[in-house]
């Protein structure tokens, strides 16, 4: 090794500059996220746009276009956040802090509902509770003669229930993680000080997990507000509109400017609420990580309540995971909704066209569209997972290495911005941006590329977060020691960072994959006949009243997601043998 002194030229200097990488990353993030938003703002300021503003905000139509939907949206957001905190908090407390039997089992069960897409739950609800108000096939209960009132079959209550059932596991995961960071030492110190159980819960445990509660509430709120599937399937048929279903309706009926205006308002509403709740906890976040590893936790004895609470928690998990899947499966095999569990037929899966059933539609696996959709969905999932994780890892790395600098902070803000943008609004922004050709960029509307770009932008926060988690396992020292050997950045990435990160990268990639494979709210606007995806097919079938087909496709999506999770599990164990040793 010789000491060679480098005297960089101008270009070389720029490339080597401390600011080069963050600058490039800021540009990429801006193109993905900021530019479409600016574009949608610009389009809403054209003469047509201003007219749309007028119609949406201040006209006889605005009550229907804006105020009622926004009221429903906020009600759903608040209701879902509250419901999720109660259910998720209860389960997290039970699993982490008590001696309930089967804690591991309950822990896994409580994380599963999030795996079931919200439209699966909504479809299952419809399959069971649909009444005769709208005609078409009634649900199971109505068909066997149990009267189902309108408020239970349609509208805000079923939407709320379905969304809580979908999102509570998110709150559970966050609260459980925070609770397990409350080490036994903390609790025992309080006991030594003479504090009683309730005092410990309210004085020590709750304050420590407050940031997680607020974040959990925030994320479930954001999820509910931007959710499209549940209100579209359960609310829209009876004119219970939310902002997302309104945006979809406007874009569908060609009132695209009104759609832009509503999308902007949805972004502002969601962002404002999330921003303020984030302010609420930002200063306190720090102590969530005080002792990162929850070494040993103190468990409270439940006494006689052990088994009743176990049954309650199990029931909750079963109702939100296994039962919807069983209902979907049974429905896809049942000729009529009254015989959900008898007279099963494989017609809807593999049957040839028969004018007697389903208006002559052939079974799914005889439908060339389905194979096409499976292929497109997989391709979309893999492409987005790869793109988002690659970008997420580089951005996370840049953020960590440039912590505290202006560009580092800016990048961090940009990367997490999509959390504040409901995906249907982001999709609207992408239509605004790429709907027509823009300079050298051709019109991308309806293309696979556009779906990939929008989905990558939408899921960037998750990818960056996974990237961060991955990198936090790789200490600065480990990278510096590699740097000292003289290995270049690419080599360090390939031989040190990546092998250490691979497990987290796979986990993050699979998260992104699953999220996009079962996404409906983003693809519902960007979908076209050249880019058929499974979730969109299911939604269309449901709209046409072919519940069996919709349910069958939903099961296909579920199976893809399950296989993906299983695959990553196997891969992880293969690759990182050194970790378990």
């Amino acid at each position: 090794m010789t000491a060679n002194v480098i005297r960089p030229g101008a270009l070389h200097r720029a490339l080597r500059s401390q600011r080069f990488v963050p600058l490039v990353m800021v540009c990429i993030a801006a193109i993905l996220i900021i530019v479409p938003l600016l574009r949608i703002v610009m389009l809403s300021l054209t003469p047509e746009g201003l007219e749309a503003w007028q119609a949406v905000v201040a006209s006889p139509l605005s009550s229907n276009l804006l105020w009622r939907p926004i009221g429903n949206t906020m009600l759903l957001g608040a209701g879902v956040a509250a419901g999720c905190l109660v259910l998720g908090g209860f389960l997290a407390w039970l699993v982490v802090l008590t001696d309930v039997p089967g804690r591991r089992f309950l822990g896994i069960l409580s994380t599963l509902p999030f795996m079931i897409p919200s439209f699966a739950a909504a479809l299952a609800w419809g399959t069971l509770f649909r009444n005769e108000r709208l005609g078409g096939q009634p649900g199971y209960f109505t068909a066997i003669g149990i009267e189902i009132p309108d408020w239970l079959a349609w509208g805000i209550l079923p939407t709320l229930i379905v969304l809580v059932a979908h999102y509570y596991s998110l709150a559970y995961t966050m609260i459980a993680a925070a609770l397990s960071s409350v080490s036994a030492d903390l609790v025992e110190a309080a006991e030594m000080a003479g504090a009683k159980r309730a005092r410990i819960l309210f004085g020590i445990v709750l304050p420590v997990v407050t940031p997680a509660l607020v974040s959990g509430g925030m994320l479930t709120f954001a999820g509910a507000v931007s959710n499209f599937a549940a209100p579209a399937l359960l609310g829209a048929p009876v004119r219970m509109q939310t902002l997302s279903t309104r945006i979809y309706g406007m874009v569908q009926t060609g009132n695209i400017e009104r759609g832009y205006v509503l999308a902007l308002l949805l972004i502002v509403a969601a962002a404002a609420l999330l921003y303020f709740s984030d302010r609420l906890v930002s200063g306190r976040r720090a102590f969530v990580t005080v002792n990162g590893k929850g070494a040993r936790t103190k468990r409270f004895a439940l006494g006689a309540w052990r088994w009743p609470l176990f049954v309650l928690a199990t029931g909750l998990g079963v109702m939100t995971t296994i039962i919807p899947v069983i209902v979907l499966f049974a429905s896809s095999m049942a000729e009529s909704s009254s015989g959900l569990f008898s007279n099963w037929t494989l017609h809807f899966w593999i049957g040839a066209a028969d004018p007697q059933i389903a208006q002559g539609q052939a079974g799914l696996f005889r439908n060339p569209l389905l194979m096409d959709a499976i292929w497109t969905t997989l391709r979309l999932g893999l492409t987005v997972a790869a793109a988002a994780m690659a970008l997420g890892l580089i951005i996370a790395h840049t953020i960590v290495r440039h912590k505290g600098t202006f560009l580092g902070n800016l990048l961090s803000q940009l990367a997490f911005l999509p959390l504040f943008i409901p995906s249907i609004a982001l999709a609207a922004a992408y239509i605004a941006m790429y709907g027509t050709s823009l300079g050298p960029i051709p019109a991308l509307y309806g293309t696979f590329t556009l779906l990939v770009l929008a989905a990558t932008a939408n899921l960037l926060p998750y990818a960056v977060q996974s990237g961060r988690a991955v990198l936090s396992q790789i200490s600065n020292d480990i990278e510096e020691s590699a740097r000292l050997t003289g290995a270049g950045p690419l080599r360090r990435m390939a031989e040190i960072v990546l092998p250490l990160a691979i497990r987290g990268v796979f986990a993050g990639g699979i998260l992104v994959f699953i999220k996009i494979v079962r996404d409906l709210s983003l693809v519902v606007l960007l979908f076209s006949s050249t880019t058929p995806v499974l979730s969109m097919m299911a939604f269309n079938y449901a709209g046409l009243g072919f519940m069996q087909f919709a349910n069958a496709i939903t099961l296909v999506i579920l199976v893809i997601c399950l296989i993906a999770s299983a695959l990553v599990h196997i891969l992880q164990n293969r690759i990182q043998g050194w970790k378990t040793a």
Partner: protein
């Protein structure tokens, strides 16, 4: 401060730091450091936590860029605040042993040693031979195929050193390498490190907060405080001729006693007890006298000054007792033959057996005699 400069022969120093300064925002971590050592030396940077010693080491490794000043290895400038000339970390012929060891957890012991050689472009045969050599040298051959998570802290330490000396760096940098080991292992590893230093002949820079490590291992010591070098020189010189009160009380076991005195007539006195001639501190109204523990004992002696104190604690050391007493808030350590015990709080007479070792002004600088 730079009285070490004249002690080495006029050859190009292996490491030379000139006016080296590092600022982070408004905070100055390293402040105008000037140090140079000849090839083969063992330089120890010692000081309390936050004194800037690790930042200094990271600048030597090329992981940080100086704000001002220069670093030269064997006469070649490798880092410079003004010119922006930086020889990158890999090309400066240094090896760094991290405090956390920073072993790559997904590589075996062998893989950890192999990789830097591979990056440096060594041939397969050379690498295999060198791996055998360093494994044997550090006595960790049986661990060859193990992963870092499977071996003990002391073994990880050896692997970290093996990995660093693998490519035969001309300069070996060590960042508190013993701080994660238990007391017994630390003493063993200390001699091991000195053996490695002798065998590799690499100029070494060693950062520690433990003055015992500094005193036992160094050929040169730089005592740092608040980013500045308080004193630089061979360990004996620092111990015998401390230039500041900080150095006097930081080094040595037990550390020296400082007695604050005021001028009273022709004498320097502590609580009306005349301890030294005022002529020793010309023009000073106040001064501080340095007494070694062995120059203070318990019990009155004819013709020597004494002070009443309260007994606090004692620890037996090699047949003597190291006795700590309190005069007000002032802690004073004395040596007594044999075992000495008393009731804590009991009154004892401290006797100053000799004249002070050194006299410092109120600001803590030595007053030349």
């Amino acid at each position: 401060m730079e009285n070490g400069m004249n002690m080495h022969p006029p050859v190009t120093p292996a490491i030379e730091l000139r006016h080296l300064t590092k600022r982070f925002g408004g905070h100055t971590a390293v402040d105008d450091v000037n140090v140079s050592v000849p090839s083969g030396s063992f330089l120890v940077l010692v000081g309390p936590s936050g004194c800037g010693k690790s930042t200094l080491l990271r600048m030597l490794a090329g992981l940080e860029t100086p704000t001002e000043g220069e670093i030269a290895f064997a006469g070649k400038v490798v880092s410079s605040g003004k010119g922006g000339v930086v020889t990158n970390a890999a090309a400066r012929d240094t090896g760094l042993v991290f405090q956390s060891y920073a072993l790559w957890p997904h590589k075996t012991v062998e893989g950890n040693i192999d990789w830097p050689l591979k990056v440096a472009g060594w041939s397969k045969e050379d690498r295999a031979a060198r791996i055998d050599e360093v494994l044997k040298f550090l006595d960790i051959e049986p661990l060859r195929q193990r992963y870092p998570a499977e071996i003990s802290g002391g073994q990880q330490q050896r692997v970290a050193i093996a990995r660093t000396i693998g490519p035969r760096p001309g300069i070996l940098l060590l960042d508190e390498p013993l701080s994660n080991l238990d007391a017994k292992l630390r003493v063993d590893m200390r001699s091991e490190l000195m053996r490695i230093h002798r065998a590799t002949k690499a100029t070494s820079v060693y950062v520690t907060h433990d003055q015992v490590e500094a005193m036992t291992m160094a050929t040169h010591v730089a005592v740092l405080k608040d980013g500045r070098v308080e004193q630089f020189g061979p360990p004996d010189e620092l111990l015998l001729k401390p230039q500041t009160t900080f150095v006097a009380t930081f080094l040595g076991t037990p550390a020296g006693n400082l007695i604050p005195v005021t001028r009273q007539g022709t004498a320097l006195a502590f609580r009306d007890v005349a301890l030294a001639d005022a002529a020793l501190a010309p023009g000073q109204a106040e001064a501080q006298l340095l007494y070694r523990a062995q120059d203070i004992t318990i019990g009155r002696r004819e013709g020597r000054p004494g002070i009443r104190a309260r007994y606090a604690e004692s620890a037996p050391i090699a047949g003597q007792s190291m006795v700590t007493c309190l005069i007000g808030d002032l802690r004073v350590t004395a040596m007594v033959e044999g075992f000495f015990r008393a009731e804590p709080g009991a009154e004892v007479d401290l006797c100053f057996l000799r004249d002070p070792d050194a006299i410092f002004n109120a600001e803590g600088r030595k007053i030349p005699q």
